[in-house]
Structure formats: structure tokens, C-alpha cells
């Protein structure tokens, strides 16, 4: 079975999904990521799905689960690079990825995670989430 590689860059784990994943591969990724977050102690996870030409409810559910698990492990997840056709289809499908943060590309995703860190250092427990943060788009 193929495995999706997880790269560590600074305080971030970067996952770039480049294959049409079998369900089992997606579940494996969810497990791998949880283990890597604990092992590396990072505070951010970026999942790049720009190579995916579809996201169905299973993959969507897995992504939402990864985000929830990461949050419990004190890491913020940002999903980046969703294609327009995929987004339109997800809306029609009725899948909204609640609680998952999104950004247009890896660069904006890293910036989003960076801001969160700044806020935390300032002693502000909550990341700015009053709708004033451009990249902090919650998909709920």
C-alpha cells in the first residue's frame, strides 16, 4: 500500500497528497500524522490538496478528523490548495469541513499558522478569530 509522505519544516508538518488515495491510505495518513505530531512536537499541520482532482465525503471526513485530532494534540491544521471544481462539488455534496482552516496555497497557509503563533506569544490565548483575519477562514 502506498503511503503519503509527511515532511517536517520548522514548526510545521507538511503533507502534500499527490495520489488518488484509497480509503485505507487516507486512514493510514490520519494515524501517521497523529504520531508525527506527538513525536516532533510541532504546532502546525499543512495539508496540500492542490493535486487532488476530487475530494469525496470519505476524504473530507478524514481531513476533518485529522484537524480535530491535531487540535487535541495542540497543532493547528490548515488545508491548502483546494481546486475550484472540487470546492464547488463539495458545496453541492453538502460537505462543509467544519472547523477546518483553509488557505489558497502553501505560502498563505504557512502565513496563517505564523500569525497564530505571534498571537500566542503576545499572551493572547485565543487566535484572532473574530472574522478579522483574512486567511483564517473557517468553513463552518
Amino acid at each position: 500500500m502506498e503511503r503519503v509522505p509527511v515532511l517536517k519544516i520548522g514548526d510545521i508538518l507538511l503533507v502534500s497528497i499527490q495520489i488518488d488515495m484509497e480509503d485505507q491510505v487516507a486512514l493510514q495518513l490520519q494515524e501517521d500524522l497523529a504520531e508525527r505530531i506527538v513525536a516532533t512536537g510541532v504546532h502546525g499541520v499543512i495539508i496540500d490538496i492542490s493535486a487532488l482532482d476530487i475530494v469525496d465525503s470519505f476524504v473530507g471526513r478524514t481531513i476533518a478528523a485529522i484537524a480535530s485530532v491535531s487540535r487535541v494534540l495542540d497543532a493547528e491544521t490548515v488545508v491548502v490548495g483546494m481546486r475550484p471544481a472540487v470546492a464547488i462539488t463539495l458545496v453541492e455534496l453538502g460537505l462543509s469541513l467544519p472547523g477546518v482552516r483553509t488557505a489558497l496555497n502553501v505560502e498563505l497557509g504557512i502565513a496563517l499558522l505564523g500569525r497564530r503563533e505571534t498571537v500566542t506569544i503576545d499572551g493572547d490565548d485565543e487566535p484572532a478569530d473574530d472574522g478579522s483575519d483574512p486567511a483564517a477562514v473557517h468553513t463552518s
Partner: protein, 278 residues
Amino acid sequence: MSLSPDEASRFAELLNRHAEPVVARWTELVTAGLRGRLSSAELRRQTADLQHAFQQALAAGATDLGDEAAAELRAQLSELSNGRARQGFSATETAISIYAFKEATLEALGDQSDVAALKEYLAFSSFVDRAALFTFDTYVRVRESIIADQTEQLLELSTPVVKLWEGVVAVPLVGTLDSARAQVVMERLLQTLVDTSSPYAIIDITGVPAVDTQVAQHILKTVVAARLMGADCIISGIRPQIAQTIVALGIEFGDIATKASLADALRHVIGRQKRTER
């Protein structure tokens, strides 16, 4: 009344013998009919080609325009009507270009007053008539496809997505927004967000006279799709009646930001950008 193979070959021979004067006279008639909107050199080339195609078709024994032997002729006729339709000539002007062939040929026949010759000419004439009707049909088809293309181009023109500021794109919607157009707008807006990596989009509906449930749904879906991709949409320019409609239809705009004007929306976005850049 259709041509017999025998008659066809006799006309082919006649056209061959009188090629020069027939083409000259035909060109003259067509030029007069089109009142100089095409150069006579160009028309002469067209009529010479057509005359040749008619002659070839008849020589090959074509008794009907649908015959295999007339395939080349049909291609020539299509090409002619295609050109005429695109150059803006009317269907009548196009068909008359072919009808003129009869007159030119009649003159080449000279003084023959026997009944047999008359019958032959009638058969030939109906063959040419069918050729003219064929151009008419082709003409209509071409015009229809031109109209379809133009509709598509209009759709493209009517949905410009512009970069308004660093990281901000806007789509000013003007005119009635039907479902098909709303869909085109949605796709183009989202693609532009990716292409320009802009996290903000402003959908300005100042120029939209009315919004129905379906269109409102399309706008809402665009906003949700943009969020999934990591961008935020602001809707500006909602007219009072549209606001009333939205409420009356029970459409939930939820937490989507709305601003009175495009300028307000832009100010709002730039303000948010500044705050996050600190």
C-alpha cells in the same frame, strides 16, 4: 422535374464550351446584386470556381444535388454561404448569387426556340434552384452558430473578474443574472482567486435589478466554495428591493459580510488586511 444523366452531360459540355462568357456574365450579375460590397475580382474567382464545380458535377452524371457526384459542388456552395453569412450579407443576396447562374447560362444557350431545349433548360433550372436553396439552408445554419458564439462571448464579456487591489479581486455583476450566468461567474471568480492568490473577493451586485431564490443560492454557494478554498467573499451593492426579496424569500445570508457599496467593501477588506499584517 429532374435532369436525366444525358441532359446533365450535355449541360456540362455546354458550360465547358461557354465557360468564359458564362463566368463573365454571372460575375457581372452577382456584382450588381451585391452593389459593390465585394470586389469583382473576388466575385469572379468565386463564380469561376462554382461554374467549374457545376460543370464537374454534371459531367460526372449528377442528376440531383444530393448525388455523390455533386459532393464537391455542395462543398463549394457551403463555403460560399459560410463566407456570405459571416460577411453580413442577407440570405436572399446569398441565394440570388446562385440564381444568377441560370440567367448567365440561358444567355450562353443563345437562340434555341424548340420545346425540347426548353424542357432541358427547365430541368437544369430546377437543379440550380436546389443549389440556391442549399446555400439558403447553410446560411441559416451558419447564422445560428454565429448567434450561439456571440451569446457565449456576451456571457464572457458580462462577467469580468478584476484584480482590485493586492489580494483582492472583484466581480461587478451587471444585468439579469440567470442560473447559467451565475454558474459561469462562480467558476471564473474561484479560478481567479487561485490564479492571483487573492484571499478576498468582492461580489458587487449594484447592477443586478432582481435576485430570485436560485440566483441567491448561487451566490451563497460561491461564498461557501470560496471559504473551502481559503478565501473570503464580501457582497456589496445590495439594493433595497433586493434586500427585501432576500428576507421575504427566507434566504439565510448568515455570517456573510455585506457592504453598501464597492468602495465600502474595498475599504473594509484593506482594513482587515492591515490588521492582520501587523
